[in-house]
Amino acid sequence: MPGEIVEANVDMAMIHDLTGPLTVDSFHKIGAGKVWDPKKIVVIFDHLVPPSTIRAATLQKGLREFVKEQGIKSLYDIGQGGVCHQVFHEKGYARPGELIVGADSHTCTYGALGAFATGIGSTEMAAVFTIGKMWFRIPTALKIHASGNFRKNSTPKDLILRIIGDIGEGGAIYKGMEFTGSTFTNMSIDGRLTVCNMVVEAGAKAGIVPPDNKSMAYVRSRTKKPLKPIRSDNNATYEDTLEYDAAKLTPQVACSPSVDNVKSASELSDVKIDQVFIGSCTNGRIEDLRLAASVLKGREIHNGVRMIISPASQEVYQQCLKEGLFNTFMEAGAIVTNATCGPCLGGHMGLLAPGEVCISTSNRNFIGRMGSPQSAVYLANPATAAASGVVGHIINPNDLRRP
């Protein structure tokens, strides 16, 4: 029952290079010696890779040693993976019906594949590493029902931005969000991952697209483990149900400095930009980069604007190479980085100076998120971000003139 507090066994646990070292520190303080189950732990280096400071290098070195001494096999070091919320499911660890915790708030991404996945802190993770379980308060649920197909250059990102704009930054605190309707059943896996990735921006504990043939086929192509999908009961109750028509959705932008300050891209042509970031666990997947390339093909980035593109994983990177997307990006004047979270969290590679403005495909536009507290971040889909880079201000990609 919602509100009830239960203790549950964790199926999979994930840490990365920024939350991992603190987890290890707390784990040593607990003094358990050995982790509860090394097969259920996944370690992914993505936030500061390759290390941007000696301190980061030292922390990563320590994490490698911990992985080795604990017999953890699932380490995705530099060059082996990429952004954790892409790599985790690419490697088959996100499975329907399982309980996944990650020491990163965007762990909710795996709800796209029918898992109950949520973010926790480092010490909480150290406790999970020790006993393999934690307490949960059973959330109430919010149903988002969407029908209709997206129009050109409108995407799942625009839908989740619109939803957060409607319910507010804290509109789903402690709640689960379930996504139903033809828009979601027709939506690609990449799109579902984008939607579930951002539920935490509304405060939700988890976002779930009910597992179907499409998501089951994706997971089966990535793991041989038996799958135990769970779906909502027919008589499940919801605190509220919100209805959306995807066909009416235009490209949306979350304006600085809050994620629920959502406007139509067309209204924002007076916002001049200095930087474009296309990447992150929200929108660094192959479909996102294809969309950006479709806008940039035959066009050049506006003089004075810099564009940073970070494919979300080694796999996405290779696919971009095969499809020639990087040629398009280079010809347009963009820079392509390795798979990293760097720019999104103001970690490294692309920090903003005071007074600068960035349009980003990531998930947070908090004050100072990508650099100086006097800089500003606007969140958008990859087509809007790319198109804005071409004209030097925010634009609806459908309003771009022919190259």
Binding site: I5, L18, T19, P21, L22, D25, S26, K29, I30, G31, A32, H47, L48, T53, R55, A56, L59, G102, A103, D104, S105, T107, G119, I120, G121, S122, T123, E124, A126, A127, T130, I131, W135, E169, G170, I173, Y174, E201, G203, K205, S258, L345, G346, G347, R364, F366, I367, G368, R369, P373
Partner: protein, 167 residues
Amino acid sequence: MILDIFGKAVKFGDNVNTDVIIPGKYLELIDPEELGKHALEGLDPKFTQKAKDGVILIGGKNFGCGSSREQAATALKSAGVRCVLAESFARIFYRNAINVGLPALECIGISKKADEGDMISVDLRSGTVENQTTGTTLKASPLPQFILSLLEEGGLIPHVRGLIGKR
């Protein structure tokens, strides 16, 4: 952990996120004292000065939203925050605060009933919050018994040490 807490109020608005509590560039820091030096510097550069003698942090809705970084709760505690009272909390921050031994209490109405500098006392057992400056009393949602015990033990690390017989 003492379950009766008091201190001067330091007040912020809605949606105070973990990026402003401790920006990404400091996440390489593990030492609580180092983290504490940068707590909330993006929102109020004087915060650490105000907090050093021990304060009660008052927040609005959705306090601690954003990243899972536990460093946010650690930084506040280390800067001198004795307790956070807010209209509501983002769930990861809430858990992190309790886990590192920083009491966090959902107290509806607090953002209207307390001003910066007011003397606030909190009884964690009953959830009674008293503004001694204005003489008003509010009832916060009391913490479940297991969370109170966790705080009394000093946070999640000593608690789990107890569970595995390491005490």
